[in-house]
Structures are given as structure tokens and as C-alpha cells.
Subunit: 448 residues, 2 copies
């Protein structure tokens, strides 16, 4: 992993933990399946990994990391991000009905629209832990709110990792105490610290002009397995210095989510903890955006959508066992939503995913996946292509189909698949990765 | 593979093909993924395989097998089963909207309720082949109907194997010609001949008393991958000498299907060709069954359901890469249908399936799967057990949970998982297999 230069120069950078994947993971009950030694995948970095980019500092946003010791590991596992007064917040959360207390409380607290702090615990998802889990989250909220002098509803908490073990209150309390005293850290350290089974830290930067004012975005995300977001993906956080009302921020985030996090899948399994939050400090000093009619609103929402799309792609590129990044473009559906469902049916098909792993242009399996999606489709109007080359048109294999360029395309790290249903104007693009021995190794090849 | 003695003594048994899995399979476009050499799985027989049982001869049912040569292989690949005049027929078919012409025609023809012949082609599914595929099926129907002097609607055709290649009419014509002259064969040969990537032939026998009359059932099925029947599974055929009206036969089959084929999954991928047909010749001479009120109807429908359940289990036991047979019992749901959906969400979860492959009682992944099912569930009422031992009750891990007996249970070939949602009286049982390196090897580890 190439490390970019720290984006925020700091005097007292806490020691970064070891590579995320190398942590000593308590694998029994780990939600996403650890890369615990001696699995051969243990320390492998995804072949689709990209270097961590230089993220801009966002005025009003100050990250810190510490080691709470939620697990018996040497790495930092608590991220505390302080936010300036008046920061607007918006969020989307998992639709998994067995969600964690963090998600329950976050969903309730997002309504008032303002945030002063974000706390992310790694190594323990605190899900399926009953009232004890909820008490631990409320303790963190109260502790931070007491220190900052804000309402507890302005403190957002996420946790990721082992399920079924209540977050230990004593470790959380000591961790927060330490975080409140810790020196600020860089974005890459924060991105590493929120990760669990991730093989590389993931961040995205963007800029937008609102009138004459340049606003900045820095965003981090974690996620590798249990990725089939129904409304959001694992844990993602977008920070911007733009001045935006909470309502319009939510509107932009919800719209972006539909075309990004809701269009990716690694393994069809929807996590209990999925959360994406967007925070806007307003420090850039632009004329506040309050609706789609505000000057500059288009540029802002486009930049936010672009950040979300890039974050979503990074999660797929760190998909468990991924060797190939797959883009599936569906057109000709009866509606955009229908196209998205067809795309996800293809993206979730183990037979399609293994065919691509095998570099096999097996469009028969794509036909099957289209047909099982439960959406309108007509076998005799269906066209399927790979890398921009049609293999079948209108329900039949092409007579002059040349497999050679398709085979060459499939050997690459990035594979595209085009499906035209021939029914209407609906279209959608979804993204996934292939299904390989790596996925099985990560999730099955270990013992308690 | 232990071979049972032929159930029907025959003078002129055609040579049985080599083991089904060893056929020379044209792997490009093969629907279900071949076990083509040099994959290490090529000739492996499922560790869950059971010996082929002795199936009774059914008066009025005469199977034959021949080699049509749909592929360049030495084995027989066309099964022709002649049925006595007046045989009642019922069927359930895939809900995949990209289904084959065979399914389209079968669904249309089942309405008139009578059958004189069944033809099963192996090695070519004839799906996604447009008008040419349909013409090939109609040619077979006309050819057989002409010979038997029956309506073409009484000839049922199924095909399984490669997608996107029209069934060659010349080979089909010659094959049917040969089949019409061939000596009858035994059930095991028929079961082998309808198979493609199956690793063992699958058959089930049953008996029922209708009044003083004993009626018999012989049934065969094929299927290994692309198994997530929405209404039926791959290709299954039940033959009985009972006298039953087509309407009541359909009623019994549809009911049995709901609790059997619709409750299994191997890989969540629903085939384009799934078909289950039941044929009743009436030769046993019982008082005809015409409704649930007919004397003996209960015994008949119970026996038919039992046959379907056993057939469904055999398909799971030949699931691609399967090392363990998994039974998932869901109770406490708001309805039986809701319980079935929750069960299938668990059964289709790659993270649950890999955990069981790894012999890991990872109930956290079960919680996740329950929560993503889209059905009513309450995290704090949920209980989860393995092998009859609760690991978590009412939303929390058991304080005195003893993992040792659970770990021992998970080491076996048959694993049970119990989920109580704590909401209502709805219950369902579903069956699946684990997800292993074998599945990836079968479906990805080859090149064109």
C-alpha cells in the first residue's frame, strides 16, 4: 500500500495502527468474517486497491484516533471527530430490521439536523446486544455531550465488528477520555481506524464552486464484506465546509445514495450497521444552500453524488476476495428502479460472479439472472454485451459474434457488462466484484 | 457410486452412459457450469450422495434412453417415457421470465390434463434460442404425437444444459426415431440420462393405500447448480399408477411444491428451465381420486408430498460443492410464508453458508440474514440455535451458552439451524447446502 503524504500536517500524530487487516481478530461472531491468520488471505491487499488520496482539511472538522482496546490488538480502534457548532448533518441507514442501537439512535437523532461529534468504534458492532448495547451508546453520547456542552442528540455513534458482544462501557469511557485529549490526526489515520476487515484505507476528495466560493469535501468509508446496502453501505462519512441546511443536505444525500450505495453489492448480505452520514460545517462562508433553487445547489449536489459514487466503488474494490471490479449497465427497462433491480439480480448471482472470475463471457447466466429478477423482461428482446461488444441481440446469439475481443476484455481488472431489455427508457448502473476462492477463504477457512 | 439392482428386469438394456459428471461438456454457455476436466472436481461425487433406491415399475409407464448426440459425448442424452392412454398430468414450472420454449409450451399444454409421453433432452437447455428453439420443441411434439396417435399437447418436453444454442432438429429427430424403437430401460438409467452436472442419479419410491388398493410412486430428478426454485426445481418427474383426476393431481402437486421444491436453494439462482411434472396412469385401479374428500386422498397427497420432499433433498445433497446438508427451521413468524422467506434469506446468505462450511456457529450472521429478509422481525425477541441447542434467546447471547456440543454438531454432514422470531405462529423449514471452494471450482476454475 502506497501511503500518500498526510493531508493535515500535525505535530503529534498518534502512531498509526498496523495494516488494518492484520489485526488480531476475535473471529467467532465476527460479522464480516476476519482475515485471521493463518488464512493465506490474511494480509493480502486487494488487487483493486488504490492509493489513499490527499484529502483537504475541512474547517470545523477535527479527527482524532485512540486505542480503546475493544479487542486484544495493537491498533487504534476509536475514531473521534469533533465538529464546529452549527454543523448540519444528514444520514442514511441500513434497512436491516435487526439493526444495532447505534443505527436506531442515529436515525432518531438525525431529525434535529445538527451534529457536534462523531464517534466510530471498530472491532465490536454492538449489534444484537439488547439494552446493554444501547446503554453503552448512550453513555458515549452523554460523555461527549457533557464535554462539548451540546445536546446528546448531536453526538453520532457508529460501531462495526463483532456481533453479540455488548460494547464494554469501561473501555469506551476511557477511550473517549483519551480521544478528548488526543492531538488531531490525518484523514488516512482516521480511515484506517474505522476499518475492520478492509485491506486498504479508503478516502475521497472533491471540490465545488458555489458562486465565488470554493467548498471542499473529504470523505472516508469502510466496508469489505456483508455489502448489499439497502439504503446505505457499511460506514461512510462525508465532511464539507459548505453552508447547507440540514434539510437540503439530507435531500442531496438521499438522492446520491439511490444511485451509488444502493447500487453496489459484494455478497448480497445487508449489514446490521450500515450508515452513511454527511456533515457540513458551513465554514467556507458560501451563501447557505437551502433548496435545489439556491445558486450553486447543482454544483454542490453533483459533487456530493460524485463523492458517494467514488466511496461506493472503493468498497466494491475492497470486496472480500475481489479480483475484478464489475460495472453492469442496464438499459431499456420499464423504469430506472426496475433497471436497478435487474442490475442487482445480475450482480448478486453467484453464477454470473464466478463466470467473470473465470474470465468466461457466459451470457447464458446473465439471461438467467435477468429472468429471475422479478422485473418485466422479454426473453426475445434481450441483448447482452461485454466491454461494449454485443454477444446476443434480441433474444438470440449473434451469428457473427467474435469472442476474441470479449475474452481480452474479461482478462482485465475492470469488466463491463451491458444489458438492454428492449422494453422502455429505464436505466441504471450497478457495481460489484467477482466471486472467488478468496471469498470462501476469508469466510469459511478457519476454525473457532 | 453403489448401483442398486435394476428395478425393472430387461432383456435389452441400452448401455448406460459413463458417470454423468464425466461427460465431455461444452462449457462455454453451459447453464449450470460443467465439471469439465481438468477441474479437480470433475469426477467427484457429492459426499452427501445416497445410493439409488429400488424404484417400483409403474404400470403404464415405460422409460427408454438413447444417445441423440446433443454433445460430443459417449453417454445417452435423450430420455423418452411413454405413458398409457388416459394418464393424468400436473406440473409446476419456473417463474423465471426468461424461461425456455419447453417451459412455455409445457405450461400451456398442462391445462388439458392428459399426457402420453415425456421427452427429456440433456446437454442443451434450448433456452434463449428464439423461434428456432420453439420449432425444435414443436417438431418433437409432432413426431411423437404422430407415432402415438395422440394430440401434440399430450407430449411434454424438457431440455437442460447449454443455453443459447437451438436444439439441433436433425439430432432430435433421429434421437426420437431411435427412442421409439428402443427397448425399455430401468429407472436408474433414466435418472442418469436426464442429468447434466449432477454427480449422482436421484430417485425416490413411495407407496400409499387408497382404500384396499396399494398405489406406487417412482420419481426421478436432476439438478445441482442454479437451484433456487421459485415454483419448482430443475427437472423432476413423479410417476404413479394411482387413478387421480388431473385437477386433484395438480392441487396435490402445487401444495407439495410449496413445502418442498419452493423451500430449497443451492445458490439463489433460479433456472430458466425448472419443471416438475407428476403423471398418474390410473393402472392401480383404485377408486379415482377427484378431490380432497375422496376416500384415500389424504394418503395419496401425503405420499406425493413425501416424494417431493425427498426429491428436493436429493437436489440439495448434490448441490455444487456441497459438503453439508443444512436444515433451517423457522418458527414464531407472523405467517408460514413469512417464515419461508426468512428461512430462504438465511439459506441464501453467503456469509451463513460459508460459516457453516467453516463449522462455525456464527449466529451473528444469522441475525443479519433474518434482518435483511424484509419480513417482520424484532431483534429483541429473536432466538437462534444449532442442533437443538440455543445459542441466543430473545435478542441476547445466552449467558451459559456451551459451545462444545454445538461445535460437535457442526462437524457432521447434516446440520440443523433453529430460528424463533417470537412474533406469531408461522413456521417453515427450508433446506440448503454450504458454500465451499468446490462451488467456486465448479463455476469459475476453467477457461474457454
Amino acid at each position: 500500500m502506497r501511503r500518500a503524504a498526510p493531508s493535515i500536517p500535525l505535530a503529534h500524530l498518534p502512531p498509526a495502527g498496523p495494516p488494518i487487516a492484520a489485526g488480531s481478530v476475535q473471529r467467532w461472531l465476527d460479522l464480516t468474517g476476519p482475515r485471521a491468520s493463518p488464512s493465506p488471505m490474511s494480509d493480502a491487499i486487494s488487487p483493486l486497491a488504490t492509493p489513499f488520496p490527499a484529502l483537504p482539511a475541512i474547517a470545523g472538522v477535527t479527527p482524532h484516533i485512540v486505542r480503546a482496546g475493544y479487542k486484544d490488538w495493537g491498533r487504534c480502534d476509536l475514531t473521534y471527530i469533533e465538529l464546529a457548532q452549527g454543523t448540519a448533518v444528514a444520514g442514511v441507514f441500513t434497512k436491516n430490521v435487526c439493526c444495532s442501537a447505534e443505527v436506531d439512535l442515529g436515525r432518531a437523532n438525525i431529525v434535529q439536523g445538527r451534529a457536534r461529534a462523531l464517534v466510530v468504534n471498530a472491532g465490536n458492532s454492538n449489534a444484537f446486544t439488547g439494552y446493554r448495547g444501547r446503554e453503552a451508546v448512550e453513555q458515549i453520547m452523554d460523555q461527549v455531550a457533557g464535554r462539548l456542552g451540546c445536546a446528546r442528540e448531536q453526538v453520532f455513534v457508529s460501531s462495526t465488528g463483532v456481533i453479540g458482544v455488548p460494547l464494554p462501557k469501561d473501555k469506551a469511557r476511557a477511550g473517549i477520555d483519551a480521544a478528548l485529549e488526543a492531538a488531531p490526526c490525518g484523514w488516512e489515520d482516521a480511515a484506517r481506524t474505522i476499518g475492520t476487515t478492509d485491506t486498504f484505507p479508503k478516502g475521497v476528495a472533491a471540490f465545488a464552486m458555489i458562486g465565488e466560493v470554493k467548498v471542499s469535501f473529504s470523505a472516508i468509508i469502510k466496508g469489505s464484506g456483508m455489502i448489499a446496502p439497502d439504503m446505505a453501505t457499511m460506514l461512510g462519512y462525508v465532511f464539507t465546509d459548505a453552508a447547507v441546511s440540514p434539510e437540503f443536505l439530507q435531500q442531496c444525500l438521499s438522492a446520491a445514495n439511490l444511485a451509488t450505495f444502493s447500487c453496489i453489492t459484494v455478497d448480497s448480505d445487508t449489514s446490521t450497521s450500515d450508515t452513511v452520514l454527511a456533515f457540513a460545517t458551513g465554514a467556507a462562508g458560501n451563501a447557505p444552500l437551502t433548496s435545489a433553487d439556491s445558486p450553486g445547489a447543482d454544483a454542490f449536489s453533483a459533487a456530493l453524488a460524485d463523492v458517494c459514487r467514488q466511496l461506493a466503488h472503493l468498497v466494491v474494490k475492497d470486496g472480500e476476495g475481489a479480483q475484478k471490479f464489475i460495472e453492469i449497465a442496464v438499459s431499456g427497462a420499464v423504469s430506472d428502479e426496475s433497471a436497478r433491480k435487474v442490475g442487482l439480480a445480475i450482480a448478486n448471482s453467484p453464477l454470473v460472479k464466478t463466470a467473470i472470475a473465470g474470465e468466461d463471457a457466459n451470457w447464458g447466466r446473465v439471461v438467467m439472472a435477468v429472468g429471475k429478477a422479478g422485473e418485466p423482461a422479454d426473453r426475445d428482446r434481450l441483448s447482452i454485451g461485454f466491454g461494449g461488444i454485443w454477444a446476443a441481440r434480441e433474444g438470440q446469439p449473434l451469428a457473427d459474434y467474435d469472442e476474441a475481443p470479449v475474452a481480452a476484455h474479461l482478462k482485465g481488472r475492470e469488466v463491463s457488462l451491458e444489458v438492454d431489455l428492449g422494453l422502455g427508457e429505464g436505466r441504471a448502473t450497478v457495481w460489484t466484484c467477482d466471486l472467488t476462492h478468496g471469498y470462501i477463504s476469508i469466510n469459511a477457512d478457519y476454525r473457532s
